[in-house]
């Protein structure tokens, strides 16, 4: 069994998770990454997606996050999410609203740079929707 390390998932409203875990899958801005104990120090921004936490007892928990960043040090991992909810508690209407807003952003974008950013964000959101719908 892999060694456990401390994982914290914090949203501005509250501390969601603070426990010993075996591994965490983070949707990093430049690709998904799995964090285990003694990971090299990394700081990364995260895109909207699903964080999968495997606790020390072997349970797997999934959380939906909407952007934020992760601070990984050998001693543990802190994930500061802009907004985070457990997959079971996700509000579909809220997600649909976010997608709608992202679509409007794409339509409103004035130059190419903001448009490509908005489109990227939209595609991340729709992927996320696809990923959690069957759940």
């Amino acid at each position: 069994m892999a060694e456990a390390f401390k994982f914290e998932l914090v949203s501005p409203e509250r501390l969601l998770v603070s426990e010993q875990v075996e591994s965490v899958v983070i949707p990093g801005a430049e690709g998904e990454m799995t964090v285990m104990a003694h990971h090299a120090p990394v700081m990364t921004t995260i895109k909207p997606g699903v964080v999968t936490v495997k606790t020390a007892e072997g349970k797997a928990e999934r959380y939906v996050v909407f952007g934020g960043f992760a601070d990984i040090v050998p001693a543990g991992c802190t994930l500061l999410a802009e907004s985070a909810v457990h997959v079971a508690d996700i509000d579909r209407a809220d997600l649909a609203r976010r997608i709608q807003e992202a679509r409007e952003d794409v339509a409103d974008a004035k130059d190419d740079e903001t448009r490509s950013k908005a489109e990227q964000f939209l595609s991340q959101l729709t992927t996320l929707e696809g990923a959690i719908l069957p759940a």
């Binding site: 501005p12 700081m43 601070d71 802009e82």
Partner: protein
């Protein structure tokens, strides 16, 4: 001299008022507990955010990469004041204290020949500042419909401020809110959020920082993502402190009101009893003197 009936009505009405203030006090106490919990729950995020921010600025090492939100425009001609107050009154001097602090600040800035713009969060501050500085108020953020303060509310305010900054609308942004010390003491505070001062690394952060960090994407890019978020967090914290402070102030104001109503009822009851006694005595005298006359 009021009649007995008047006094009776008066006592009844003060009693009704006392019931209301008592109820408001209890509601405020319950809400205060919730507001305090919310403020406490938000603390880990802002603490970690501070640590991460210190870490990353250290990594950049004060190079020219720091975004304008952090270093400022290099001028201080146009000031933006974000004044956060409560949406409702009946909470003692809570709103007027914040407004007074803001007004003093505005007066000083105007005297120095600076330009001032105001964003009001909350109805009460708007009402007070509108009297003197209506022309300076850009906007009023209404949170009356909001039952529980969420991060989205703070984020919306922060986004507006940042957008204005990017358009070159102001040079320095200051946040006015009330710091929650305890139930009976709330201290109106100012906090400069743009340009954000470069945070100094705490001992704990430097420990972790000795290891070489990898950044994904580049530190500069993370920082430019982080700073706006940090501003949202500061606004959020200010709003939460305000919410707790408002409830604390309301609780003590309503407690005072309840006690005053009690005092008033006592005084009125004494007057009432004395007058009733006087009337009885008067009636007795009338009967006795009538009997004697026979």
């Amino acid at each position: 001299m009021p009649s007995l009936k008047d006094l009776r009505n008066r006592i009844a009405s003060v009693k009704a008022t006392q019931k209301i203030t008592k109820a408001m006090q209890m509601v405020a106490a319950a809400k205060l507990r919730r507001a305090q919990e919310a403020a406490e729950a938000a603390r880990p995020y802002s603490e970690r955010m501070g640590a991460v921010l210190a870490n990353i600025t250290q990594a950049i090492g004060g190079g020219g990469e720091a975004p304008a939100l952090m270093t400022g425009t290099g001028k201080d001609d146009v000031h933006l004041l974000v004044v956060c107050t409560a949406e409702r009154g009946l909470c003692g001097g809570f709103n007027s204290q914040i407004a007074r602090l803001a007004r003093d600040h505005i007066r000083k800035l105007l005297a120095d020949g600076k330009q001032v713009k105001i964003i009001c969060v909350g109805k009460k501050g708007f009402d007070i500042l509108r009297r003197d500085y209506a022309a300076l108020i850009l906007e009023r953020v209404d949170l009356r419909e909001v039952k529980t303060l969420g991060f989205v509310n703070a984020d919306a305010i922060a986004k507006k401020v940042i957008q204005l900054f990017n358009e070159g609308g102001f040079d320095i942004c200051t946040l006015f809110y009330s710091q929650f010390k305890s139930v009976i003491s709330q201290v109106p505070t100012t906090q400069q959020i743009i340009p954000a001062g470069v945070p100094t690394a705490t001992a704990e952060a430097t420990d972790g920082g000795s290891a070489v960090y990898e950044y994904e994407p580049e530190p500069g890019e993370i920082l430019s993502d982080l700073i706006p978020r940090n501003i949202s967090v500061q606004v959020f914290r200010a709003l939460l402190e305000n919410a707790a402070g408002e409830m604390g102030a309301k609780m003590s104001a309503m407690d005072n009101a309840t006690r005053n109503a009690g005092d008033m009822i006592n005084k009125l009851s004494i007057t009432y009893n004395r007058q009733r006694q006087a009337q009885i005595t008067k009636e007795l005298i009338e009967i006795i003197s009538g009997a004697e006359a026979l």
